[in-house]
């Protein structure tokens, strides 16, 4: 890290930190765009999803639930459960953003996503000048945002041209595996994951409530394991 840090150098460092994430964001965004079209949305609706919601996993889940005819309220609630993790990210990054204006907090909140958060929180933990660190978060977030919109557009307009037997939809579970596996650092986290996974396959619930129920079962299993002292 360079000693002299200002708005521009932090922003540029943020954009540079985004580059290794390209290969994960591009296919994920394309699959999201293609999934919305496959679910019966118009290109404009599919694109609106990617900038109004701007959260890949809930976009995918919403598209799938919409295609399967789930009620509106179930779709919105399931997406909210999928996005509950943002509360945790927000809570952990909040102390670093406390001194910023509401406008900055508004912007950085809208742009907050898994990968950018994970990289930025590590950057905040590094030594050195802290005054302009939020420009780093802005840089990596804006790069992610722009890339996401372009990738989604590619998915919307070219998704149907990609042959089915390339199995590119498999990128979604692969991306999630890459995010979830490093989290399983103790037995309580492992149990929450296994319980959520088993419940999602075995539960047959009306109105497509499976994912919400599986999430609650997984969280309960984790909390129970923690009570048993397995969170070490």
């Amino acid at each position: 890290m360079s000693q002299v840090s200002n708005e521009r150098s932090e922003f540029a460092a943020g954009v540079r930190a985004f580059i290794p994430m390209l290969m994960a964001i591009v296919p994920f965004g394309m699959v999201c765009g293609a999934a919305a079209i496959a679910a019966g949305m118009t290109p404009w609706q599919a694109f609106a999803m990617s900038w109004i919601i701007f959260a890949g996993s809930s976009q995918i889940v919403a598209a799938q639930l919409f295609a399967s005819g789930a009620p509106i309220l179930v779709i919105i609630c399931t997406a909210a459960v999928v996005n509950l993790r943002f509360m945790m990210y927000g809570a952990s990054i909040a102390p670093h953003l406390a001194s910023l204006s509401k406008r900055w907090q508004f912007l950085l909140s809208y742009l907050l996503v898994d990968l950018a958060y994970a990289v930025a929180i590590l950057h905040y933990m590094e030594q050195g000048e802290r005054k302009y660190r939020h420009w780093f978060l802005l840089g990596i977030s804006i790069a992610t945002w722009a890339c996401w919109q372009i990738a989604t557009l590619f998915g919307i307009f070219l998704g149907s041209l990609i042959p089915q037997d390339w199995s590119l939809d498999f990128i979604i579970p692969l991306t999630f595996i890459a995010i979830v596996v490093p989290l399983l650092s103790n037995r309580a986290m492992l149990l929450a994951s296994i319980a959520g996974g088993i419940a999602s396959v075995l539960l047959v619930l009306p109105l497509q409530l499976n994912l919400i129920a599986a999430a609650m079962i997984g969280v309960s299993a984790g909390l129970l394991a923690e009570k048993l002292g397995w969170a070490k």
């Binding site: 290969m23 994960a24 996993s57 509106i72 909210a80 993790r85 509360m87 890459a178 979830v180 396959v201």
Partner: protein, 115 residues
Amino acid sequence: MNPAGNEASALIIWTIIIGIGLTTFATRFVPIALLSRLELPTWLKRALTYVPPAVMTAIITPALFFPGGTPTIALDAPRLAAATVAAVVAWRTRSVLWTVILGMGALWGLQVLLR
């Protein structure tokens, strides 16, 4: 397709998009805007820790067992095996990039072998 049906489904889709947009923004903004002054209750913090593994795994698993979206007994062996490879890669490398590349490579390899 009748126009009335299209309008109704357009209204449903926009309700879903805007509804999810607002709840998503709330989950991001509320902690950042308020937590600099307020603290989340401890039980909620503990519970939120387990949301990512529970939710993520609950999204992944059905995609491995029911690739067509419908429950079947015949699980998709290449996908399950490739996902296992990906999990090992993710654990060893902690890299999204390598997990996606080697996971897709494993899937394509198995699909060719089992064809």
